[in-house]
């Protein structure tokens, strides 16, 4: 495809509204990428997940697919493959980009691009539903500005950020009654993470409510169930090698395993009800649906796609799943927004029957853009874009460590040193001291107040007064210690 053809496809052959959307997506991607990159560059917050994914890409590009060393999950006692934690085969598609331009900037940009491109299928859905191009542009814009979506630019790098663009194409083909593209996109979506097939299965329920042909009911349910069973009970256990899956721990309060939870559903329904309707869940649900007009996204059958993730988030004992700007609300956000658009069609029809003009849909679109934008306070934290007072010292400390050496660093820094064989975060000295002691370099930032471990005198002296360590850098309370002695033998992972 030549540049001319690309330019015709993207711009020349587009209507004014579509060109406007292209412009909005471009600006959105650039600003989102700029914010994400800036936050990373100034060590604005935890970069642990970024490090895990960059390390996985680095190992994959060196021939060890999905290999990571830096991930520390509760109960883990051996190095884990990324597939042991999440069945995110989708990263394979991004590897060519990383191989060509290795670095965290590539991953941040790809994430921002994927988030921006989610506006395309949302535009197609909205245009088909509300039959107004400008209204569709506004609704697509509102979608990518919704807190669960826009926040992902600045919330590290996570694979769910790449899902909305895929899932929304699944919805689009579902609405268009295009069965084969629907199935293909559904399968590609499933590759994103193990929870996606549950959302895909819900398309069957939606089809059932709409009384569609049986193939629309059976196919997504069968695909979703089969894929989910395969990854949960076959693939991921294979990579975990008898180690526990951290997710099961989050539902232990509801019962012992999946069977126990289902049994309790009937035997002790009060357990479930108490968990679902606690204050924290209500707070989460209100913030999730508020930019979409509260009940508007809940009154269309399309909302069932959000149901598995919504239930998982609300039933979990891990409150992180209910944090709107984290990466647990991309399926819920996308599905509920689709449901909103389908509801708006009815609202728009109702208004037009009562004499409203044809362009009222555009006003509705504008209202949702404003509502989405107004919730910026849920995800924009200006302080994460300010340089830390010891920024230069941190940068110099990183350069002290040779790129091929293993290193333990504060969690703010881990994303900056992840493209190497072995890396871990400073908390390892608390959770797995014998494992942490194998690393050759330790960076300690005694200015840190937000993330653990607390740098006490005792903690500092573990290195400072330890003859096996030599201090090789000390500036502005940032220190680098070099472990003396032989290089680590990573084949003997200490059991702790």
């Amino acid at each position: 495809m030549t540049v001319k053809k690309i330019s015709e496809f993207v711009w020349t052959n587009r209507s004014k509204a579509e060109r406007c959307l292209v412009f909005i997506i471009s600006v959105y991607v650039l600003i989102g990428f700029g914010l994400g990159k800036r936050c990373f560059d100034v060590f604005g917050h935890d970069s642990g997940d970024m490090a895990a994914f960059e390390q996985m890409m680095w190992h994959s590009s060196h021939g060890r697919l999905f290999h990571v060393t830096g991930m520390l999950v509760m109960g883990q006692h051996k190095p884990m493959n990324m597939l042991a934690i999440h069945s995110s085969f989708f990263w394979i598609f991004l590897m060519p980009f990383y191989v060509v331009v290795p670095g965290m900037g590539t991953l941040i940009f790809l994430q921002s691009a994927a988030l921006g491109l989610a506006a395309v299928p949302m535009y197609l859905i909205a245009r088909w539903v509300v039959r107004d191009e400008w209204a569709a542009v506004l609704l697509a814009t509102a979608f990518i500005l919704m807190p669960p979506i826009v926040s992902q630019h600045v919330n590290q790098v996570e694979e769910p950020s790449f899902l909305p663009v895929l899932l929304l194409f699944v919805v689009y083909f579902f609405l268009q009654h295009k069965f084969r593209p629907f199935l293909v996109m559904a399968l590609v979506s499933c590759l994103n993470r193990e929870n996606v097939p549950l959302a895909i299965a819900m398309f069957g329920l939606w089809a059932l409510i709409e009384r569609r042909h049986w193939k629309w009911v059976i196919a997504p349910m069968a695909l979703g169930a089969a894929y989910f069973t395969l990854v949960i009970y076959v693939i991921m256990p294979y990579f975990r090698q008898d180690q526990p899956w951290h997710v099961t721990r989050q539902y232990a309060h509801l019962g012992d395993g999946a069977l126990g939870i289902v049994t309790n559903l009937f035997a002790q329904p009060q357990l479930l009800v108490a968990q679902l309707f606690n204050f924290e869940n209500l707070h989460y649900l209100i913030f999730l649906v508020q930019p979409m007009g509260w009940i508007l996204p809940l009154v269309n059958p399309a909302a069932v796609i959000a149901l598995p993730d919504l239930a998982a988030n609300m039933l979990s004992s891990n409150s992180a799943l209910r944090v709107i700007p984290w990466h647990y609300n991309l399926i819920t956000g996308a599905a509920l927004f689709v449901s909103l658009i389908l509801t708006l069609r009815k609202v728009s029809d109702w208004l037009q029957q009562r004499g409203a003009g044809q362009r009222c849909a555009q006003v509705i679109g504008a209202v949702f853009v404003v509502l989405s934008l107004a919730h910026w306070f849920l995800w924009l934290q200006p302080q994460v874009y300010h340089r830390l007072p010891r920024h230069d010292a941190l940068e110099r400390a990183i350069t002290v460590v040779p790129p091929e050496k293993s290193v333990v660093v504060p969690i703010r820094l881990i994303g900056h040193v992840a493209a190497r064989e072995s890396v871990s975060e400073l908390m390892a000295f608390q959770n797995r001291p014998r494992y942490a002691a194998m690393f050759e370099y330790i960076i300690v930032d005694a200015n840190e107040r937000q993330y653990g471990p607390p740098i006490t005198q005792d903690f500092f002296d573990k290195f400072y007064r330890n003859p096996t360590y030599q201090m090789v850098f000390a500036e502005e309370n940032v220190f680098v210690f070099h472990r003396l002695g032989p290089p680590p033998d990573w084949s003997s992972f200490p059991i702790e």
């Binding site: 204050f279 930019p291 208004l351 009562r354 004499g355 409203a356 044809q358 107004a374």
Partner: protein
């Protein structure tokens, strides 16, 4: 979506009894439910000692003194009356109601009623400007749920909460060009507080931009300026008896006296600009305008009504003035809201002329109402409505103190003991011990973690091991101490203004 011209009376049964159209019935239901719900919420917060009740105590105490023949007197300010703080003459209009029902609940209800009734002029303005009754009701709801307005119900008691309803009626008579009614309402609005007069003066500039008759231009400007000068240069200084006005401390980086502040601001504009562009100011400004769609208020000169208070809040180095949920935004948000209504009228008049945009006023109003309501995070604090673990002990401790006895209490309890000659907050002990020692009773809540003073062992022992006091109540870390000895002669007066 019915335009005013096409509007018909409702066909429901109510219409037979009351000649009201459906939107008007909806408006009445909105106001009634708003007043009841927010009165109950505020009452609940007060009853469960949900937060500081110092301002509730101050208002209740002033009304109590007024109903006993001492207008504006307040117990905790020594020889100063409430007029030394603010020229709020409007409070006297509420005194007859308080005299009949002497209780803080009366004032809480009147406050919610005053805020709820602000929906009426909003409805009238929007109906007049947008020609859409349903949209008018939705915009009335939007105004009532503006964070800075709705929070007025729950942020203790302040007379400035009556400013919006009066200012909005003033604006209504201004847009409908009813000069006499405009003047009367403007005067009434001025009587709420001295700063309202500056907002009233802005109507003159608005009239100037519309090239109205001279009376519309000059009367508000001259009247507002005259009232402001009279209030701030005559009434308040008279009531202050030579004490400095507390507002002088609000611009400390520019100076303390008005002339010094103005001179520094003019001669050192960099200082002002640097302060204006500070982080807290930017955040305050965004949060203030966001529920009214950011730039929307600024498309019309009506937004000028907000300018004096907005400038004051932005220029002040008292960060309390930049808290959206506190009582410093009634003029700013009302003025900006009127600006938004007028800007929208300009946009709608262009759009609604075309059939394809018909009915969009209703949608705009619905969107703005949703936007305002979605900012509940600014004012809704669920913990304020939960009973404290020591609630029952606090109630019993209050019962121990006779209604005619002087008492010093924690901040949460001030509003519950304010109907008496002498009461004050326990924070007076560390700062003005001689004055505080005159009180006969001291209630001490050692569970308190939010409000000063910190109840340390030393602070507690200052009463427990003091032979001048005896403990008369001790439950769940709540204590009542009675001072032994004769009645105080109250020769030591409190120093400094404010509760």
């Amino acid at each position: 979506m019915k335009s005013v011209e096409n509007a018909q009376p409702a066909t429901c049964h109510h219409a037979v009894i009351f000649p009201l159209r459906r939107p008007q019935i909806a408006l009445i239901l909105l106001i009634a439910s708003y007043v009841i719900v927010f009165f109950l919420l505020a009452k609940r917060a007060f009853d469960v000692f949900g937060g500081d009740s110092g301002e509730i105590g101050a208002v209740d105490n002033m009304m109590w003194w007024t109903s006993h023949g001492y207008p504006y007197r307040i117990s905790f300010a020594g020889d100063l009356s409430n007029l030394a703080f603010h020229a709020d003459f409007f409070s006297m209009a509420l005194a007859p109601v308080y005299a009949i029902f002497p209780s803080p609940y009366t004032m809480i209800f009147l406050q919610s009623l005053g805020l709820g009734l602000a929906a009426v002029p909003v409805y009238l303005i929007v109906r007049h400007l947008w020609q859409d009754e349903a949209a008018a009701v939705l915009m009335a709801a939007a105004f009532l749920f503006l964070p800075s307005i709705v929070s007025g119900n729950l942020n203790q008691l302040h007379f400035i909460t009556y400013a919006p309803v009066l200012l909005l009626f003033t604006a209504y008579f201004f847009v409908t060009r009813q000069f006499r009614k405009f003047i009367i309402l403007a005067l009434l609005a001025c009587s709420v507080r001295e700063n309202v007069a500056l907002g009233i003066g802005m109507f003159g500039i608005w009239a100037w931009t519309e090239r109205r008759e001279w009376k519309w231009r000059l009367t508000p400007i001259l009247g507002g300026a005259a009232y402001f000068l009279a209030a701030t240069q005559l009434v308040i200084p008279w009531a202050l008896h030579g004490h400095p006005w507390h507002l002088g401390k609000y611009f400390s980086y520019l100076g303390t006296a008005p002339v010094e502040i103005a001179t520094t601001a003019i001669t050192h504009p960099g200082l002002v600009i640097h302060h204006l562009l500070s982080g807290p100011n930017i955040q305050y400004f965004i949060f203030l305008v966001q529920p009214i769609a950011w730039l929307l208020p600024f498309g019309h000169p009506a937004a000028l009504l907000a300018l004096p208070d907005l400038a004051g809040n932005l220029l002040s180095d008292n960060d309390g003035l930049k808290v959206i949920g506190w009582h410093y935004q009634f003029m700013t948000s009302t003025g900006l809201f009127i600006g938004a209504l007028c800007t929208m009228q300009r946009l709608l008049s262009r759009l609604q002329a075309r059939p394809e945009w018909k009915g969009c006023a209703f949608l705009v109003a619905a969107g703005l109402a949703a936007l305002c309501m979605s900012h509940w995070v600014f004012w809704w604090q669920p913990q304020t409505y939960r009973r404290l673990p020591q609630h029952a002990a606090l109630v019993r401790a209050l019962d121990v103190v006779g209604p005619d006895k002087s008492v010093i209490v924690p901040d949460r309890l001030k509003g519950h003991v304010s109907q008496r000659v002498h009461y004050d907050g326990i924070n007076r002990f560390p700062t003005q011990t001689a004055y505080a020692s005159q009180f006969e009773y001291v209630i001490l809540d050692a569970n308190e973690r939010r409000y000063p003073p910190v109840i340390t062992r030393e602070f507690f022992d200052a009463f427990r091991t003091n032979l001048m006091y005896r403990i008369v109540f001790a439950e769940e870390n709540v204590f009542v101490f009675q001072r032994l000895g004769s009645e105080s002669d109250w020769h030591v007066q409190p120093v400094g203004l404010g509760p």
